[in-house]
C-alpha cells in the first residue's frame, strides 16, 4: 500500500477510535453520573408551583399582559404590573433564540431604545428616570438572564405591592430571600432571581 494511503487509513482509524472514546463513552459516563448524583440540576433546575412545572430557575421569562389582538404580530407586548419585570431580552426570552442585541456602544438605534426604555420604566414604576438602574434599560448577553439588580427589584416594590395588595415589607423580605450573592462571596455579581421571586409572590395568599 502506498505510504500516502496508509497514513490516511491510520488517521481514519485513530479518528474513529477517538470518536468512540471521547464522543460516546465520555458524555455517556458524565451523563450517567450526573443523572444519579445531580439529577435536578442536570435536567435544568426546573421549578414547580402546585406540582406544575413553570420554568427553570436559571432561565428568565417574560411577564407580559395578554395581547389585545392575539393575531396582531406588530402589537408590542405590555409588561404585566403584577409581576417583577426582568431585563430586556434580544430574543424575547425564547430559549430557541438565545443571544444579544449586538448593537455597538455608539449605535443610534440602541441609544434611542435605551432612552425610551428609561422613560417607560420610570413611568411604569413611578420613579425618577435618572434613578432607573443600568440593568433595567439594557438587554442581557444570553437573552435569558434570570437576574436583575437589587436596586431594580426595590424600584418595583411599590407597584407590585399595590397591584397585588401585598405589603411592601413582605416583598422586601422576599427580595432578600431570592437575592443570590456573589459565589463564595467574591465571584461575579449579586442579583435577584426574578423567576423564583415571581413564583414566591404568586404563591402569597
Amino acid at each position: 500500500m502506498p505510504t500516502f494511503l496508509r497514513t490516511h487509513l491510520t488517521a481514519l482509524r485513530m479518528l474513529l477510535a477517538m470518536t468512540v472514546i471521547l464522543g460516546l463513552a465520555y458524555p455517556l459516563l458524565v451523563t450517567g453520573i450526573s443523572q444519579v448524583a445531580f439529577a435536578d440540576k442536570a435536567n435544568g433546575s426546573i421549578v414547580k408551583t402546585d406540582g406544575k412545572e413553570i420554568g427553570s430557575s436559571l432561565l428568565g421569562q417574560n411577564y407580559n399582559l395578554p395581547k389585545k389582538d392575539p393575531n396582531n404580530a406588530d402589537e408590542q407586548a405590555q409588561p404585566d404590573p403584577k409581576f417583577f419585570q426582568p431585563r430586556f431580552s434580544a430574543g424575547s426570552y425564547d430559549p430557541k433564540a438565545s443571544g444579544a442585541s449586538n448593537l455597538g456602544p455608539n449605535d443610534e438605534k440602541l441609544t434611542r431604545t435605551i432612552q425610551d426604555r428609561r422613560a417607560a420604566i420610570a413611568a411604569f414604576d413611578g420613579v425618577d428616570p435618572a434613578s432607573v438602574p443600568v440593568d433595567a434599560v439594557t438587554a442581557s448577553g444570553s437573552g435569558l438572564d434570570p437576574h436583575i439588580s437589587v436596586a431594580y427589584a426595590k424600584e418595583q416594590v411599590s407597584r407590585v405591592a399595590k397591584e397585588r395588595g401585598l405589603s411592601a415589607d413582605t416583598l422586601n423580605h422576599l427580595i432578600d430571600t431570592y437575592t443570590e450573592g456573589r459565589s463564595l462571596g467574591f465571584l461575579g455579581q449579586d442579583g435577584v432571581n426574578v423567576v423564583l421571586l415571581n413564583k414566591a409572590i404568586s404563591e402569597q395568599k
Binding site: H8, T10, A11, L12, R13, M14, M18, L22, Y26, P27, V30, T31, I33, S34, F38, K41, A42, N43, G44, S45, T49, I54, L59, N62, P66, D80, F83, R87, Y93, P95, A97, S98, G99, A100, N102, L103, G104, P105, N106, D107, I114, R118, V137, T138, S140, G141, S142, L144, D145, P146, S149, R182, S183, L184, F186, L187, G188, Q189, G191, N198
Partner: protein, 553 residues
Amino acid sequence: MSSTLAGWLQALALVGALALCYRPLGDYIAHLLTSAKHLRAERGLYKLVGVDGDADQRWPVYLRSVLAFSALSILFLYGLIRLQTHLLLSLGVPEMEAHQAWNTAVSFTTNTNWQSYSGESAMGHLVQMAGLAVQNFVSAAVGIAVVAALIRGFTRHRTDRVGNFWVDLTRICLRLLLPLSILFALVLVANGVVQNFHGFHDLATLGGDTQSIPGGPVASQEVIKELGTNGGGFFNANSAHPFENPNGFTNWLEVFLLLVISFSLPRTFGKMVGDHRQGYAIVAVMGLFWVASAALITFSEHQHAGTALQAAGGAMEGKEQRFGIAASSLFAASTTLTSTGAVDSFHDSYSAFGGGLTIFNMMLGEIAPGGTGSGLYGMLILAIVAVFVAGLMVGRTPEYLGKKLGGREMKFASLYILTTPALVLIGTGIAMALPGERAGMLNSGAHGFSEVLYAFTSASNNNGSAFAGITVNTPWYDTALGLCMAFGRFLPMVFVLALAGSLAQQQPVPASAGTLPTHKPLFVGLLSSVVLIVVGLTYFPALALGPIAEGLH
C-alpha cells in the same frame, strides 16, 4: 464587599490558582511527552489503529500525520453534519447547507470554533458530542503535539526525528484532557449546567407564555470547550447562556480552565530543555500581556464611553447580571488572548476601546498565553525573532538554547509571522471592497468595519469569537472564513514543524560570552517589545480605521 474589591479578588484568585498549577501540570505534560512507557490500554489502541508507538517520525512524516488526521477530521465532521437529519438525536433540526457545514467542519477541526450557525436550532445532540466535542479534544491535542515536536527540536541533537504524532495525540487526549474533563464536567453539573439527552421541553410560565426548556449533553462539551481553548458554544449565547455558565463561580472556573494548560506549557518547555528559567521567562511575557489586557479592558468598560452606554449609565448591554462588568471583562481578555473565543458577554456591545482591545489581543497572534500548544509555539517563534534581532545588534550569528538561528530557521520564522496578517488584512480588504459583503454588517460606520475586521482576525487566528452582529452565514463568508481558518491553522504548523526538523539536526553550540541570556528580565523586555512592534506595525492602520476611529470620535 464593593464590586471593585470583588473584581480585584477574582483576578488575584485566578493568578493564584494558575500559579499553583504551573509546576505540577507543566511537569505532568512534560512527562507525557517524554516518557517511553505506554499504558496497556494505549498499546491496545496503537495495535488497533496500526501504529508503532516506539517509532519516532521525521518532521515531514510528523507533518503528514497531522495533516492527514486533520483532513479526515474535516471530511468526517462535514459528513456527520450533512447527514445529521438521518441520525439519532437530531431533534428535528433542518439540514445544514453545504457552505455552512464546510465552515463548521473546518472551524472545529482548526480549534477555531467560529460559529455561523446557532447551536440550539442547527445542531442535534449526536453531532454536538460525537462530532464537535471530539474535535474539541483532538484539535487541542494536535496543538500540543506540534509544540512538543518544536521543543524536541531544541532538545535533540543530530537527529532527524521529532517524535511520534499518534503517541503524542493519544497521550494528551486520554491522559491529560479526558480525566480533567470528567472531573470538571461534574463540577459544572453540580452548579447547574445541564447534562441529559432531552430535546426541548415545553411548559407554561406564570406570565401565560409557553417556554421551551432546552436539554443536551452540555456540561461534557462545555468543559472541553474551555480546557481545549476551543470556544464553540452548545447554545448560540455561548458561555453567557445560564445552562452553560450558571453562576459567578462557574464563570471563574471557565476562565481558569481556558487558561490553565496554555499557562502551564512554558513549564513543560523549561522542563524539557532542562532549564526551568527558560520557562519562567516565557510565562512572564505571557503574564505581562494578560494582566495588562485584562486591566485595560476592565478599565474601558467601567468608563463606558459611547452614546448608548452613557444613556444606559453603564456598559451592561450584552452582559449578564450575575457576572457584571469585572468578571465579563476578565473573561473577554482571557478568551481573546487564548484561541478560545467562548464569550460570557457580547463584545460587539463593548465600549470602542474595550472591544478594540479584544481585537488587538487576537492580533497579537494569541500567544499570551494562546491556544493549547499553538500559544507556546507562537511565542517561541517570536522568541526566535527576538534573539535574532539582538544578534543583529551585536553582529553575531544568534543562537537560542544552543541552536544556531541561521537563514533557514529565520525563513521559517518569518513565514510564520507573515501568514496570519496576510490572511486578516487581505480578507478584510476584499470583504470591504464587495458591496454584498459590506451589507453583512449590523452596525454602521467605524463599528461596522470593526465587525468585519474582527471576523477575519478571529478566523485567521483560530479564535472563534465575533462581533456577533455581522451576518456571516452566506456562501461568501462561510467559504472565505473557512479558508482563513484552514490556512491560519495549518500553514503555521508546516513552518513550525520544518523549523523543528531543522533545529533537531544541529549540533548544539556551547554558550559563550557573546550568547544572549534568554532567561533574564532583559530578554523578557526584549521579547515583549518584539511582540508589540511586530503587531503594532502590521495592524495599526486597520485598527485606526475601526475601534480607534470610533473611540476618538
